[in-house]
Amino acid sequence: MTSEKDIRTQEATARERRVTRQVFLAMVQRDLLIQARDIWEFVFRVAMLPFILILTYGYVLPTLGVLPESFPSQMFAGMVGMSMLITGIHGTAVPFTMDFNNLHEIEDRLLAPVSSTVVALAKMLVGIIESFVGGLIVLPISLLFMGSRINVTMGLGDVPALIGILVLISLASATLGLLVGTIIKPTQIAAMFPGFLMPVVFLGAIFFSWQSLSAIPVLQAIVLVNPLVYANEALRAVMTPQIAHMPLVWSVAGLVAAIVLMGGFGFRRFHRMVVGAQK
């Protein structure tokens, strides 16, 4: 028989959960509202990189004959993966470091009566949502510039696998964003693109498959630390399986490992920042 005390405890726990859910949603809503007010900045930031890469490598160079006609198919999966990862990292890391360091805006949320993990998770969910928008934005640009040259061979049966992979990529982007956000300072944001995102992009198996890197074994080994490699190889395995790719089990394992590792480090650094640093 359940005692009165047990019922009271259960009620308190249920109330706590409800409050936590509400607080979490309010924090997400706040970030999305701020982003929506700057919608054109967002669209420009997210669309520009895939646009310029697709225009150059997917349209201009194949049309000029510098790259083969099949190249757009090779890079299509990579564009989706890159756009998702970069958008998610940016969407989590930049507001995070700004809120924390420059403007102290996050303090109000850190003083909310919920675990500070909720604050980090809310920031990450916003990164995940932005990451999906980043992936979606690639589709119309790809259709416009490389439409007839893309040979996507996946069937309807592959859709659940694709969705699973997209979710993993967005999670990886948010965890990496959290980690980066706890490391960089606002003054270093300008250096983040050439110093961190460019190497991730250009060594991320976008324009070549990981398998084809066997010609340069050292590089093939080094790029394994880049989560974008696993993201793109997993997408390639599902969307354009005719192109040589890493076995899906490996790429998925790589993505999961990246999420666990970066998430672990990211949360540890985040908690240290929350209670250890003197402002």
């Binding site: 607080v23 706040r30 102290h104 805006e105 303090e107 109000d108 909310a112 919920v114 209670v275 402002k279």
Partner: protein
């Protein structure tokens, strides 16, 4: 229910410096904050006030000691503690991407209030703090005084039991300081909210706070009510006279006068520390006449908390080491 809303025991914070060595910002302080009072936490810049407030409000992990908020340990249950406290930081940490009204409503939502309650309370506070006509403006367009009022309104939205104010009037002009204090005292009286005030402006706690502690170099140097603290200084009145002739000989002679505990040259005038609440002016003027000096200027001052601080630490509140 304890009479104290907050009980602090042997609270410590030690920072490990990068190049090795430790810096003890707070060195084992203990004090009680009575429920429903305005409590003053005073000390010069760098005394450890902000570090202490950060620990009391769960924003910084203490190295040692105990903090009990309404009888419950803040370190064991920081989430529970945060529901009961409101914090007004020294710097502007308002959400600049939101309007004033949204700042209040989002804050209320972060504290689990329903949308309806949040809206109603936001309306009430915008009105009360004189911000209703600017409620839909982004706070980045707010002046310092308006931002400060909004910060306080925001911290009060979830009806905290205790409100921490870290140097709330720094950088505000005297007019705004007055308005702010009137509003704060109203909140204290009407809602019964305990107010924990840190400041290095000594006249503020003197007027507002009942109990207070004075900290210096991370330690408490004195605690008590304003009269209790002032009683620590052996004199209660200071007479400052600008004389036509001012030298050591005059100071020596002054110290032989009845009730004068000591005399010194201070700010280009002779300051007489007197052990009586009312100095005998007739006697003072007879004395200057006998010396053949004229009094160009004379002023009388009761002991202030600033004098207490100078007496205890040997330096002024706004004076660096």
């Amino acid at each position: 229910m304890s009479d104290n809303i907050l009980e602090v025991r042997d609270l410590r914070k030690t920072y490990h410096k990068k190049g090795g060595g430790d810096f003890e910002a707070v060195r084992g302080i203990s004090f009680d904050v009575p429920r429903g009072e305005v409590f003053g936490f005073l000390g010069p810049n760098g005394a450890g006030k902000s570090t202490t407030i950060s620990m009391l409000t769960t924003q910084l992990e203490a190295t040692g000691g105990q903090i009990l908020l309404d009888g419950r340990s803040v370190t064991d249950d920081p989430v529970g503690a945060r529901a009961e406290i409101g914090v007004v930081a020294q710097h502007n940490n308002l959400d600049r991407g939101l309007t004033a009204r949204e700042n209040l409503i989002f804050h209320a939502r972060y504290f689990g209030m329903s949308r309806r309650d949040a809206n109603a309370k936001a309306d009430e506070y915008l009105e009360k703090f004189g911000l209703a006509n600017r409620q839909n403006d982004y706070v980045r367009s707010y002046s310092g005084g308006m931002a400060q009022r909004l910060k306080i309104a925001r911290a009060m939205m979830h009806t905290p039991k205790i409100l921490f104010l870290d140097e709330p009037t720094t950088g505000l002009d005297p007019n705004y300081r007055e308005i702010l204090w009137r509003e704060m005292l109203n909140l204290n009286r009407e809602a019964g909210t305990t107010i924990f005030l840190t400041t290095h402006y000594m006249e503020e706690p003197e007027r507002l706070a009942r109990h207070m502690v004075i900290v210096n170099h991370g330690q408490i140097v004195a605690k008590g009510t304003s009269p209790e603290l002032k009683a620590l200084v052996p004199t209660s009145t200071i007479v400052t006279m600008r004389l036509s002739r001012q030298n050591e000989e005059i100071l020596h002679k002054a110290e032989t006068l009845p009730d004068v505990s000591h005399a010194k040259l201070q700010g280009g005038a002779v300051a007489l520390y007197i052990n009586a609440s009312k100095p005998n002016f007739d006697e003072l003027f007879r004395w200057t006449e006998s010396l053949g000096v004229t009094v160009n200027d004379i002023s009388l001052k009761q002991t202030t908390l600033d004098d207490v601080f100078v007496y205890l630490t040997g330096k002024g509140m706004n004076q660096d080491d």
